[in-house]
Every structure is written in structure tokens, then in C-alpha cells.
Amino acid sequence: MIDSALKDALRTGAGSAIHEAGPRPSDLTLRLAGPGDLPAAAAVLMGQSMTLATVVATDETATTDGDLKVRYIFEHTGAGAPDRFVTLLASVDPSHPEVSSLTTAVPAANWHEREMQDLFGIVPIGHPDPRPLVVHDGWPRGVFPLRKAFDGTQRVLVEPANEFPHLVAEGEGVFEIPVGPIHAGIIEPGHFRFTSVGETVLHLDARLFYTHRGLEKRMEGLSPLDAFYVAERICGVCSVAHGLGYCEALEQIAGVEAPLRARLIRSIALELERLYNHVGDIGNICAGASFHYGTATGSRLKERLQQMNERLAGNRFLRGLVVPGGANLDLPDGLLRLLTVTLEDTLRGLDGLMGRIEANPSIVDRLDDTGVLQHEAALDLAVAGVAARASGVDRDARRDHPHGAFAGPDPTILNVATVPDGDVMARVTVRALEARESIRLIDEFARRLAPGPLRVALAEPLPGGRIGISAIESPRGEAVHWLRTDAAGLVDRYHLRSPSYHNWPAVALAAETAIVPDFPLVNKSFELCYSCTDR
């Protein structure tokens, strides 16, 4: 039930909106009278300490509505907060596609609005930085790839273009350092334009979306059961999280619930994904501080976990375990014993590694007070996951939007680890605490496994015209999935807002408290994905 205080506030703030429940029964959708009402309605939600969860644009020009729509979706986060999304839905006139930008009031809306402008041609009026984001140089003007009329199956060739207008500082003794998109190591591509005075970073302009593959368009028109394989492959190291988020949204549409045993196995997989990521990330942060023993130990522990993943799921990234309707593979006792032994060794190895890091002043000196993300900035940018919790923001989708084994009666209690400092050391500490918590959770889930079915069938065609929404705590934080079927039950629109999407602007802020040589360290402490940001 929606509490009356929120409803009353919304009536006052955005009077003429139509209230309805949805997409889930506990959610609320407000149909605004026009896109001009967005700022007032958003101000009410922000006043209720809500956070921007995602923004989804859709092209409905071919339907009876004959319009474009934007949905700004907000959520509650924090201990004791209700599991609820509030959608502000505005209809946009296709002959005059404009909305009032929320970015100055809701900084987290920044990239969402630039993306909407690139892919749908919906212009956010009053946006402070309306440069192109997703489509890069030489993209034809007036062509919007996520409009339904655009044929996404044809290549759009790269044409010569002017240099991208980077935001840089200028002055005497000020240098510009261009880095990327191709980096010196085995890393994903992005361009970082530093402005520096000596070693001190004055400003960092990060340009991403080099790995934009058009995956959301690719999924449109597919059977939702086929599109699952695309969702599972949006990102390698978030395969379980994104596969699961897609499945949960799809299962809402289908009106089915995965059986308990499947939900436990899904949650075991999700924690295993977090564990191999966190352990490997701690090792990689050591690489940023030139502590090679730590790098080798982290990569060895991660390798051991990935070899176990291959034995459990047939794939080192756990692909193939989670499927729509449940789990595809069971965890028999033999594999559970392997799991127990491997996790005991991992815990011992992790404790040893953290002990060596904490006992080594030359490493601690590099990590302490480096790359600070302020608490207020983390709130403003709706930062997710480890980065949020290391800046003292108590936020975790496993608790705020229960999924997998955290849903249902008698759910598992999650201990959310937060540290107030916001520096690299805080992010290392949160990862170590969470890795230990994941090991505890996996043990508990494994003990709760009781015989039962693994999967429920999803009949094709799936129900048409329905929306599913889910939020999954991936290793990097909350990922929000939004899926809608068309009249024939095929994928009409799918949108993923990954945790990295909200966290990248925070990396740029944190880097501005550091020196240029520490950027790799700061970047690794956030450890964001380019591929699930760019899609």
C-alpha cells in the first residue's frame, strides 16, 4: 500500500497527475499532465528522500497513444525502506520532442537525459551539458536508433567528424593529458581527458560508450526467452546479476515465481559472482599500488573460484545456471562439498591477503585518503554498491528490493557493511567485509536447500503489453531492469541501468581529489564495467 503522506505530497506538488498502481502491485505510477510537470513532481519525491533509480524512454508512435514516453523512476533505499518504485510518466509530443531537464535538481539524471537525446531525439531543455553521449563522432544528424522506425540491423558507417568538445580547464601551466580509448593493459576502452597542474588533477572528463553495441535495440522483437541470452551477455563479470535481473522482470510479466530451490541456487550464484569479483578486485587494487604479492594472491584466489564456477555451471562466469523460470542446473551434494572446501580456502586466503595489506604501511599510505568520494556527492549522483557503502550510504538492493533467496517468507538477513571515509581504503575494506558476508550467505543458502523443483515453465507467447521491473545487487551495486512486451508477447523495450552507469561520474569526482599517477588506483577501487554502462 502506498502511504498517504507520499500521495498527499504528490497531489500538492503535481496536482493533475493520474495515480495508478504498477508495474508491480506495490509500485506507483503517476501519469503527468505534460512533460512540464516533471520538475515539480520530482522535487516532491526527492523531498521524500527518494533516489533516481532509472530513466526509460519508449517510442509509442505506432500505437494508439501515438507519442514518445519518458519514465523517470524513483526508489526508496536504506534500512526499513519500502520496496517500491515510483514512476513519473510523461507523454512527449513526437513533433516537438522536449522535456524539462531534471539534471540541475537531480544530478543523477545527467547521463540518462543525454542518452535519451541521442537514442530517441528527446531534448532535455535546460540540460547543463547536452553533448552527445552514446553516439560518437560522425553519427548522422536527426537519426535516432531506438526509435521504432529506425532499422537497427544495418551498419551505420563512420564518417569524418570534428574533434569531440572535451570539457577542459585552461590557464598558465595547465596541461591536458588524453588517455585512451585504447589503454596500455588488458582493460576496457574509454577516453579520459585529464586537465592537470603538475601532478594534481584539476578536472577529469571521461568519455565512454565506446563499447555501445546497440544491445537494447538488438533485443527488440525477439522472444523474451531468446533475448535472455543477450541480457546474460551484456557484461561478463555481471553475467549472473544481469541474467537474474532480466529473469525476475520477465517472470513478473509471465506471472510466475521461481521455486524456492531455484531461488536459493540463484542467490548462491549471485554471491559467488560477488565473491570472485571482490577477491579479484582487491588483488587488482594492489596492482594499482604496485604491491605484486597482493596482485598475484588476488588473481590466484579468483582463478580458484572461477575454476569452481566452471565445475558448478559449465562456464567460468557462471553463465547457464540462471534461466527464465528458475535454475538450469542443480547443486548436488558432491558439488556442495566442493563449494564448502573452496570457500574455506578462499576465506583463509582473503584474511591472509587483507592482513598483509593492513600490516604494510607503504600500501596503506597509498590507499588512505586517496580518491575520496564525499557522502553528499554519492547521494546526489545516486551512486550504487560498494562505492556508495564506502561513502557511508546505506544502500543494498538485496535488502531494499528483495530478490532470489532474500524474497519470500522467512528471508535471510543481510548485514550491510558501510564505511564512512569514501577513500580507496574504504572501498577495499567494504569489499573484504562483503566477501566474508557472501561466504556466510552461501553457507546459509546451501544449508536451506531442500529437495524441490528447479524450474517453472514459461509458456510462449508471453502475455502482451506488460511491464516488469527488477533491481538486483550485482557485484558493483544495484542494477535496474525494465522490460515490456508488445501485443504479440515479444520484447518491445528492454532497458538496463547498471550500477556503473551511476558510478562513472563519481569516479571523475574522486579522481579530482587525487594526483594523475594515482588515477589507476582510484579507478580500480571503483572497478566499474564499461560494457554494462555502454550496452
Binding site: 560518437h136 536508433p145 529506425f150 537497427g152 540491423t153 544495418q154 551498419r155 551505420v156 563512420v158 580509448p181 585504447i182 596500455a184 593493459g185 588488458i186 582493460i187 576496457e188 576502452p189 560508450f209 565506446y210 563499447t211 555501445h212 553495441r213 546497440g214 544491445l215 535495440k217 538488438r218 525477439l222 531468446d226 535472455f228 541470452y229 543477450v230 551477455r233 551484456i234 557484461c235 561478463g236 563479470v237 553475467s239 604479492y293 598475484a296 594472491t297 588473481s299 590466484r300 579468483k302 582463478e303 566452471e310 565445475r311 558448478l312 555451471a313 559449465g314 562456464n315 567460468r316 562466469f317 553463465r319 547457464g320 538450469n328 542446473l329 598483509r356 600490516a359 564495467c529 560494457s531
Partner: protein
């Protein structure tokens, strides 16, 4: 410091001896799908990435599987097709040409033998390879190039440097600059936003250079395919010397492909992967 040394001694040697000692993947590992000739093979629609195709020849249904496209999800080996296709455990699938990664069999006819379409030997890349072998010898220093991957292939390349695989023991290393490289390992389908960077990076590598496409996306477009933002594979942009199937290929599969590229191991022909009737 002493504790670190003690820990290192206690840990001992963790490095694999592959390829000198063969690697056996675990039971659940999904390697190359094995098609049983003559069986009731599934229709193309079963495959979510279009790796399965069919055509009719003299009234016979012929089903082909493109390993370069396959994402090894195992869907075609699930019921009701489990009798016709099984997920094998073979992972050493690197090949020198797209033709070598195609398996074609006659379906629905128990008497039907494997078609075993004889692949054209790719003379061009064979020549390039002997030239590479002459100039570069048995060691290979490569640059990694992410052309829009989901990062799974990238992490498996990183894993090659961990203490377990430690590819440097085989004279293989990853270098920072294309100017220092003998070749390039490319992951991802080549996105529109990276096309220029991909061309320029490869052009910066001195010739002769070897181009290795790692994973389904790089080898064929994979799950991404061709689209407004994707070229649909590295060979749409540049000539490729070796293709390594997988989604992602496990580290040893990538190592196998790199050793094939420098002529230290022989590539397999997909037609040798037929399930016996």
C-alpha cells in the same frame, strides 16, 4: 616481508603444465556441441544467435553449426533435442578460417553420413603464418584490443597472466604499445564507436603481424551480430589469422589459439567433432 616469503613458499607452485599435459575440463563444461549425423536435429530457431542453419539438398535436410557464432549456451542440447546434440567437452577449437569452424550433417536419416564439407585450405593465412613463424620465431608479444567486448574475454586474457596459466613461461606476453607488438588479440564485435581506434591500433603494429579474434563476438559478431553499432566481427574490418570460438573461450582455449597462430600447434577442423552414430 618474511611473512610474505613464508606464504609464497607455503603456497608452492600452482602453475598448470598445459599444453605439455592435456587439460580435461569438468563434467558440466559446455564445449563444442556434438551433432549426431542422421538424427532428428533441431530447427535453426532453437539457437538464440543463429549459429544453426539448415538447407535442403536432393530432398535431404542438412543442418550446419557455425562454431564461430556459437555462444555455448547448451540450449540446442536440451530436451527434446538431447538425443541429437550433446555438449562436448572439446575446447581446443581455434581455426584459421571461418570454413573450418563449420560442421554440417544430414539430418533425419539414420543412414545419413556426415557431409563433412571439405573446407578450402586458406592459402592466404597459411602463407602469412609461415612468414610470421620465420620473422617472429616461436615467441609472440601481443597487444590486447577491446573492440566492444562484454569483458568476459578480456578477463580470460588477464587470467592468462595469473600464476596458474602464466603464459610468459611459453614466451607469450602482452605489451603496452602496438609498436612493441608482433600481433593483436581482439575481443568484441568491433563497435562503430571503436572502428577508427581498432584500425589505427592495428596499423601501428609493424608487419608481419598476426590478428587473433578471441571469442564469439570477435569471430562472428556472436550474440551482438551486425547492427547500427556493430560491424559483426573483426574480419569485417581486417583480415583475421586465427579465430578462437567461445563465450568466452576458457584461458587454455585462448592459449591454444595463440600457439596455433605461431605455428606451434595444429588447428583442428570442426568436421572432426562429429558425434558418432
Amino acid at each position: 616481508m618474511l611473512r610474505i616469503l613464508l606464504n609464497a613458499l607455503r603456497t608452492g607452485v600452482v602453475t598448470t603444465r598445459y599444453p605439455a599435459v592435456p587439460s580435461v575440463p569438468p563434467d558440466r563444461f559446455r564445449g563444442a556441441p556434438l551433432l549426431r549425423p542422421g538424427s532428428h536435429l533441431p530447427p535453426p530457431g532453437v539457437c538464440p544467435v543463429g549459429a544453426i542453419s539448415e538447407h535442403f539438398d536432393h530432398g535431404q535436410r542438412r543442418v550446419a553449426l557455425d562454431l564461430a557464432r556459437c555462444v555455448f549456451c547448451g540450449r540446442c542440447a536440451e530436451d527434446p533435442w538431447a538425443d541429437a546434440i550433446a555438449m562436448g567437452r572439446d575446447f581446443e577449437l581455434a581455426a584459421r578460417s571461418r570454413d573450418d569452424m563449420r560442421i554440417e550433417v544430414i539430418a533425419d536419416d539414420p543412414a545419413g553420413a556426415a557431409v563433412g564439407r571439405t573446407p578450402d585450405p586458406d592459402m592466404q593465412s597459411a602463407r602469412a603464418s609461415s612468414e610470421i613463424k620465420r620473422v617472429l620465431g616461436r615467441s609472440l608479444h601481443v597487444r590486447h584490443l577491446d573492440a566492444g567486448s562484454c569483458n568476459a574475454c578480456d578477463w580470460e586474457l588477464t587470467a592468462l597472466l595469473n600464476p596458474v596459466y602464466d603464459v610468459r613461461r611459453l614466451g607469450i606476453d602482452f605489451v603496452a604499445s602496438p609498436r612493441h607488438a608482433d600481433g593483436v588479440v581482439v575481443t568484441g564485435p568491433v563497435t562503430r564507436n571503436l572502428e577508427t581506434a581498432v584500425r589505427r591500433t592495428v596499423e601501428a603494429i609493424p608487419e608481419p603481424r598476426v590478428v587473433i579474434a578471441v571469442g564469439a563476438c570477435a569471430a562472428s559478431g556472436g550474440i551482438v551480430g551486425v547492427g547500427y553499432a556493430s560491424a559483426g566481427g573483426v574480419d569485417q574490418i581486417l583480415p583475421v589469422d586465427v579465430y578462437i570460438p567461445g563465450c568466452p573461450p576458457r584461458p587454455e582455449a585462448i592459449l591454444f589459439g595463440i600457439l596455433v597462430a605461431v605455428g606451434r600447434l595444429d588447428a583442428r577442423r570442426a568436421s572432426s567433432l562429429l558425434q558418432s552414430t
